[in-house]
Symmetry: D2
Subunit: 321 residues, 4 copies
């Protein structure tokens, strides 16, 4: 949480027009990103050492960058201090040329702005802002446009919209996306809903803007490229990062048949580490693939033995284990 | 409805093993189909003359064939006699080399079998069978596998599965599709749900079968081709048939950039004549494009002037009007 | 299905104003009704003999009448001829002073009108008309008001609205109910959704009309009485009819404590024979309680042994077995 | 947020068995509570003066106590410090004999425990703990039982479960409630889902425990009393508190007819300040009724003039304005 002085200076900065992205250009977010998990010790403390180890291993994969504290990062379980500390550590570990996109969404607009500013201060290159959702019955297009506009106005770094209805029960409406795409500090969107008709429509209706769409899951990555997305933030890339990047290359070079074959083999493993078994499934898989997975914070529970067996089958039956 | 004699002979045929597809081969259903609308007179009678006129116009488009009495055909509003009579008339009008796929789904297995057999008798090349749905709470995979197996066992012509959750509130589960794909008389599936991850998974898990997947809407046609679908049944093809077939050609010849541009321009018009304004929207558009649209049967209502204006905008803003 | 002559006479009748409810008064539908199941033989024919036996046994319970071909009656699996024949047989068996309310809903307005007129001809005292639902995306209040108004205009007997979202995916909107309650031939509503706030609101907003609301399930019968409903159509009354009628008496005589105790013991058995195990569960239970349950028509499947055991527990743990 | 020392002492306390409710008895939570709103100044700071003024006015109503930081309190928009400060101020203002139930739910189990302990320290008599929901796909009964058990084990004051699916997209499963009702430090539940069949079942299946159920809204308060609930936490009680308490009295004294009439008149105003117009609607109404409503924190938006008019009509048409 920002102290009152910082927040006051943020507001002053706004009034002087200084808080806009000083680089004067939009960042190019195209490419593949793993939404990095947050490792915990057996006593549920953040394990910064294991985080660094994981990042070193992930550093060998040709990712565009790293998403820190997407849904996969268990951000709702972290304190504000932990959220910032994690991003700060990541910044120190990863190469300068890798984009660091930090999740800074909170329920209130004010808290989101504060977290956004703080994320910039600890080294994030851009923020990814999830839709507020607790009062989803009142989260009209107008309310969401107001929210994101405030955040983007006050953010020193570019803003990426983030729609993830499986977690929020809310789809950022297309008309709101189109309006927000015109904001000079909003550079794109991560869409995890999996509705490729919607993704195509968003690409179409924002084509006159400098606006980029990332698929929020590898399950529909090929299809998203086909309709105009430029990359993906893919939980599965935490364990099969090279393969996800290979799928990207096949799409970008027009090798659609090979891309299709690879895409097919990634659907079940991806569902297993997202919709079906969630972060506990992903972390278990990380243990298998040489990363540190470890426990989740409660109330997320470990997999049962039956779930673990089903998880393994989703990888082995597709030739990954 | 079949008389008792016909039904008895169907059952005898089954016991003698004669009811399987006598041609001994599976039909190739790849390609584009319009789900033909049923024209009505001002007094809500089926207008067979207008039906023939529409078919003559549609005959100039390089469709693989015609789907008669998909959801777009208002089949739930037709009597059994009308359902068969419409198919019979279509058979007489369209060229022999065009596939006629007739919707034969009813709520009960027995009624579906009877309708399927009758559809074959009046000239259908294949049937498309929607999931029964009134008792959706009990429509488990087991129940649906049982239903489709009975229908396919007894059908003299190939069977296409049909999943359309917007109408039925029910997704035919992937595991049921995989099981059913092994039936020698089940040749494929029309999936109208728009979940391209699911379509890719179905293609992947039925890859060892002779099983073909059609997209149920042009909104996700390009993406469906990208993940392995082989065609589409597209309401919009009733008015923009040439364009939908052009999109097919661009996909099949690997011209993905041009395909993407065309796909983008078809999303809003397609949503307008399906999800947003339904069959009344499609029929109104048909009137604009030189076909006979005419009224729907009640309880479907005509568009309001405001709806009609919004419908027109969805076409004109994409350059189609 | 009516022949053309009958239908023509219906339309003539309408134009002469003769088709309105000739009795000139609204029927009082308050009370408890079992939605009677349709018995089938082992070969899936309607078993009229077993139907009569069941009705004789049900005749000893102080029901207000019988609902024939509600959702529990498997009406979507019956031919038009069977629907009418079943009602005709019931009329001959039950006492004159018991109300016979027949389900006459079809997808199209025209078919619903025809079925309604036919139901009156074979002896129904009133019809219960389920919302059309296949094109639920276009079933606006305006469309539904139009549908029910046409049916009520042309029906020779009173009309009861029927909202059952678990089957139809559609709630008849409150504003449509309020408008329709003003129609002289619409006497009430069966609401199976279980939202007692909604039921209270409907009672409140129709209080100036002669309009009665029936709970569509015994699970919320006490609560419905508390907010102003006047009875119920309760699947569980097919096996625990005396108990459901006892609950009615306790409510009507203000014995709320005893009512609450009885209500509590009926919730799990009721869920078991509706939401949880459906008609197969109810028919299995009928076999236990001395009625004829027998098989359902396909695609409804028999319970598995595990389901049957769970069903039995829901009755035994509440002291009914 | 608790400092590490406090948290360490909490854990030590647990191991010594000292953290259980030292009073050695369960609190009686029966009665009516307003879920108090959090007043903000024009610059979105918490307005503690206005909070006190509101509480003084609410103090004239025969409430059992006050719920602080239920969903109506905008708790997701408050910092941890603000959450505690608000409760602390309320404790100083309200009479000792009024129960102060504080919302202490957070996404992680650990944060919820810390907030719970802190709420006890600042004077709460009990806590109300909303279901964690961001990872709802993994919030199985087992996970939720684990979460609430940990919180109840470590809480120095009694715990009330809180299920509010409109906000969380999650219903606390009945089997989890039944298991948790056996915990000595869990005294009851607030159920805001409005499914009175479920409420009756919970009362029935926890009848051997000392477990009390509160309705989460006045819309189904009468019906909830009818099936065994013992009170309600009702947003509408912030403006029509006397009337909600009158409804309680009518229910408790068996005056069901008068209760029904009053209940009917409260449904639309209640929907208006909850589902339909949310907290902005409630705060606007508070301004009308002599309380301080004021603005919400962003992203919640003020009502539009059309919404405000509709809100007023929902009160005036029922005789409250």
């Amino acid at each position: 949480m920002l102290g009152p002085q910082v927040w006051a200076s943020v507001r002053q900065g706004l009034s002087r027009g200084l808080c806009r992205n000083v680089k004067g250009r939009k960042v190019d977010i195209s490419g593949i990103y793993p939404p990095v998990t947050t490792p915990f010790t057996a006593t549920a403390e953040v394990d910064y050492g294991k985080l660094e180890e994981n990042l070193h291993k992930l550093g060998t994969v040709p990712f565009k960058g790293f998403v820190i504290q997407g849904s996969t990062g268990e951000f709702p379980f972290l304190t504000s201090h932990e959220r910032l500390e994690v991003v700060s550590r990541v910044r120190q570990v990863i190469p300068k040329d890798k984009l660091l996109i930090a999740g800074s969404g909170c329920e209130s607009t004010q808290a989101t702005v504060e977290m956004t500013v703080s994320m910039a201060q600890v080294g994030a290159d851009a923020v990814m802002v999830v839709t507020p959702c607790y009062y989803r019955g009142r989260m009209s297009s107008a309310a969401l446009i107001h929210h994101y506009t405030k955040v983007a106005d006050l953010s020193p770094i570019p803003v990426v919209l983030y729609s993830v209805p499986a977690n929020t029960g809310l789809d950022l409406p297309v008309d709101a996306v189109v309006t927000l795409s015109q904001h000079p500090n909003i550079v794109g969107m991560k869409d995890s809903g999996g509705d490729v008709t919607r993704i195509g429509l968003i690409v179409h209706k924002t084509s006159k803007q400098d606006f980029q769409v990332l698929a929020g899951s590898v399950g529909f990555l090929l299809a998203s490229y086909a309709v105009g997305a430029v990359g993906g933030v893919c939980a599965l890339a935490n364990v099969l990062g090279a393969q996800v990047c290979q799928l990207e290359r096949l799409c970008l070079t027009g090798q659609w048949e090979a891309a299709q074959k690879l895409q097919h083999r990634l659907i079940e493993p991806n569902s297993a580490v997202t919709r079906r078994f969630g972060i506990p499934g992903l972390k278990k898989t990380m243990d298998w693939f040489g990363y540190y997975g470890g426990p989740c914070r409660a109330p997320l529970q470990e997999l049962t033995p039956a779930e673990e067996e089903a998880l393994r089958l989703d990888f082995s039956s597709n030739g990954w284990l």
